[in-house]
Amino acid sequence: MVVSYDVSQMTREEDVRIADRLMSRDESAIGELMDLYGGVVYGMARRVLVDPGLAEEVAQDAFVALWRRPGAYDPLRGSLQGFLLGVTRNKAIDLVRKEESLRRTKDSLTSELVTASKEVTPHEGLVERESVRAALGELTDVQKEALVLAYFGGRTYREVAEELDIPEGTAKTRLRDGLTRLRQLMTESGEGR
């Protein structure tokens, strides 16, 4: 299935070219990737971890890991940016789960998501980001809260339930409904473009 809101065809072709260069051990490809996605990757690490030092380490690890195992990225399965962000988020969440003190509070996690922020460079997926932000604005507050706690806070659905003082079944439902609605909105916004 082709997802219309996904990165443009041009970006995907560029992803394939960069992936090929990584496979042929062209180190300048990593430099180029950092120019393109360094800001969003570091932004993701900061979003989950807050601590600048830890965030930098995680963001660097994401690029180095891709360099070491370029085959881990498959252009047919998604964008390079999405891949790097996924790797970064997973590494950051692993840290949060190991270290209780890194856990962000519910309020600090949820306050930033839909707040517009100054863009570092306009070409770093600005259109996609605005679409996602707009879509998130359409979710109910409780859906957003559950998604943010799980996705950026690394909470399990049981922890979400406990933290929000709701039954576990409700936490599962909010996650499911939130993702379903988000998917729906993103597909619609992609079709509208």
Binding site: A59, V64, G78, A150, K172, L179, L182, M186
Partner: protein, 203 residues
């Protein structure tokens, strides 16, 4: 107790977002893999989750960020660095750590030449053997008894192994280093090197 389809279906979204607790992950994954409807649902959730990542605003990377990454990705022979430059827990890995896994299914343990060598004598001839060990995050540092230290670094073709402070092998024994494919590493790691001489002293 067997869980119903509906119970497991309720967990598909949580699974995709990584919010299923460890004690339930296996059962949910097994279900998704065998249920076409839940698999299709998981694909949809995954696409939605990917878009969540895109909501994050970029942040200016700290000064030196790019250089620090490039130091780690440049061909290893270009970046020798003193041992002291390596830091803390990340640099120090235990004997059996899977740290070398990044070297594309290659190395378990390594050589200064193929087959069996008298490593100690080879190293004694080469005072700068340790300096030749390329510093990279792929390196596995090893610590033996009595202050023996070694470092194993995967390369494209095999690996470099350097050791310092190795005691004299008793009698006519020699040290042996074996080069093995990655697939053998696990079996090997469970016991002493199966064919090593008695003088092998790790861990």
């Amino acid at each position: 107790m067997e869980r119903s389809h509906d119970e497991l279906k309720d967990l598909v979204a949580a699974y995709v977002i990584g919010a299923v607790p460890p004690d339930e992950v296996r059962v949910v994954r097994a279900h998704i893999l065998t249920c076409d409807a839940c698999m299709a649902e998981a694909d949809d959730y995954a696409a939605a989750m990917d878009s969540l990542a895109l909501a994050v605003a970029p942040a200016p990377v700290p000064a030196g960020f790019v250089d620090r990454v490039m130091e780690q990705v440049r061909p290893v022979e270009k970046t020798p660095a003193p041992a002291a430059a390596r830091s803390g827990a990340r640099a120090w890995r235990s004997w059996f750590a899977p740290a070398a896994a990044g070297a594309a299914a290659l190395v378990a343990i390594a050589v200064l030449g193929a087959g069996v060598v008298d490593a100690r004598n080879d190293l004694a001839r080469s005072e700068d053997a340790l300096a030749q060990v390329i510093r990279s995050d792929e390196a596995v540092e090893l610590k033996g008894t009595g202050g023996t230290t070694a470092e194993l670094v995967p390369t494209n073709d095999g690996a470099v192994f350097a050791v310092a402070g190795l005691p004299e092998a008793p009698g006519s024994d020699i040290y042996q280093l074996w080069y093995m494919k990655m697939a053998c590493r696990r079996a090997w790691a469970r016991s002493s090197p199966p064919t090593a001489s008695s003088s092998w002293s790790w861990p």
